[in-house]
Symmetry: C2
Subunit: 314 residues, 2 copies
């Protein structure tokens, strides 16, 4: 049996292999992704983001317990930012994998992103497609919302849960606008701590002030204590209310089709890079060119114009 056959038979080790295959862009990965695309489109995509320390992993774990109870299969991908100033998430993932064993309905994957920026959005989306094709009902992307790349990834989700904690309160004022653009549901986690009422009220008031009518989704604010599984049922309900809402008003399809257009553009960029730029060094003497620029005899814009004119003549 081929790996793909095993994959289609529901073998999670085959899923892991196929994800690695895609991640490493091995020969023929585009054709493989084409096949996976044909089988995908059924899983809903949930994004969970929030500042460091807001308890995103704990919240996702709590949601996973609820999903298990509802007999849903879920694929989770944790995207760590490439910053050298964060870290340690991988250890946490190993702990989580013990909580949700490999033979169950939950599947975990971490993306180590250092140095992988160019392809991170693409790689994450491709893995979501693989999980979708594998037959998960739900896929979840969990990421710290730092950097544009992480925002692009979150933007590809159908429903985005922004996680805050009572301590985030002081910062809320400044970032309200930005957060409201991203969030479909707010979870105020660790809501058993002092001052949690304040941030919940503050957020709700700000949301009230936004222009809205019956066609607008009213972003709910759900206080949770993820570690005690408190109010997770409500959070779960709000997520699925949002999905139902955007399916009813057409935004689900509009958003997915926009993502498809973005994907096509991204593939075209990647083809140009792979089939032209990566081979450029074989054709031109970059050592000579960079020396001339360094010495001020020409500049990168003139060089690039000449190279691009040659390319178009081919």
């Amino acid at each position: 049996m081929t790996v793909l056959e095993n994959f289609l038979n529901g073998d999670k080790r085959a899923l892991s292999k196929i994800i690695s295959y895609i991640e490493n862009r091995e020969d023929g990965y585009r054709e493989l992704l084409g096949k996976l695309y044909a089988k995908s489109g059924n899983a809903i995509r949930i994004g969970v983001t929030g500042p460091p320390g807001a308890g995103k992993s704990t919240l996702v774990n709590a949601l996973l317990h609820k999903f298990l109870k509802e007999n849903k299969k879920v694929g989770v991908i944790a995207v760590d930012p490439s910053s050298p100033f964060t870290g340690g998430a991988l250890l946490g993932d190993r702990v989580r994998m013990h909580e949700f064993p490999l033979d169950g309905n939950i599947f975990f994957r971490s993306m180590a992103t250092r140095g992988a920026s160019g392809g991170l959005t693409a790689a994450t989306n491709n893995i979501l497609v693989a999980m979708d094709a594998f037959g998960f009902d739900v896929t979840i992307v969990e990421t710290v919302g730092v950097g544009q790349v992480e925002l692009d990834i979150i933007d590809a989700c159908d429903t985005v849960v922004v996680t805050l904690v009572p301590e985030s309160g002081d910062a809320v004022q400044a970032m309200k606008a930005g957060l409201m653009e991203i969030a479909d549901v707010f979870a105020v986690n660790k809501a058993d701590r002092p001052n949690s009422d304040r941030i919940v009220t503050d957020l709700r008031m700000a949301l009230e002030f936004k222009a809205h009518d019956e066609h607008t989704w009213m972003i709910p604010v759900v206080p949770t204590v993820a570690i005690e599984q408190k109010n997770i049922d409500e959070l779960y309900d709000k997520i699925f209310e949002h999905i139902a809402f955007i399916k009813a008003n057409g935004n689900f399809e509009i958003h997915r089709r926009l993502q498809i257009e973005k994907k096509i553009i991204a593939i075209l960029k990647s083809r140009f890079e792979k089939e032209y730029l990566e081979k450029l060094a074989e054709k031109v003497d970059f050592h000579d060119i960079s020396e001339k620029v360094f010495l001020g005899k020409t500049n990168p814009y003139i060089v690039a114009s000449e190279l691009f004119a040659d390319f178009k003549k081919q």
Copy 2:
């Protein structure tokens, strides 16, 4: 007089205009940058990065006072991350501009990065070229080290100062490897706080363990109290020792030439995007395509392959 003439005569308002012109990619900005490139190459580039709260702005301000004393002209660009979970830096910049008036030897520019990810690295590098051509002795890029884009920007600098605080101590163990790849000089700021000795010793020990010989730059660890201007002279000296070191061993030129190659590749990508991808929507019916993909009749890889084949036939 044209704006460019005023610029060449040292008019800072003309510099501001030219930076906006480049940032907005107005018609002819490539030709303009070509001209600026011809006049650039003299300013050294210092990157200052570190986690939020490490006092990067204060450290840069302290360095600026030292630069003023040394009669050096300095252009500073502050790059804020696009994360909705940070913010407020712009207000701080207004305060800084009062500290260093516009008619002096210091020039400030902030980059508001939200939504500008694609071009952020390019835009920052272009502004550094403009500042260089304007005649600054030194250009400084200040950024929170989150996200790959910010790392790329920092990587383009000749000398990178990584700023930490005593509180960063616990995190150091985990991130040592990553930080050492980036840093040319460590500044442990707020070194009057408890436990500052520990992180200084810890970093120095870790640096000792790295393989090194007389050809290797030994990364110094400088404790500072930026707000009191303490030990800033030593930090300044270490920065210039590093510049002298890499100029002597050839790495200065190697690194700059690598950046030139990267710049040429980046311009080619941008040309492909501008001259082909942005016009694609005029030629093909994306509405029809995305619907077919959404309904599972085709997939983005097949569509992109067909489009790319057409493009190459042109």
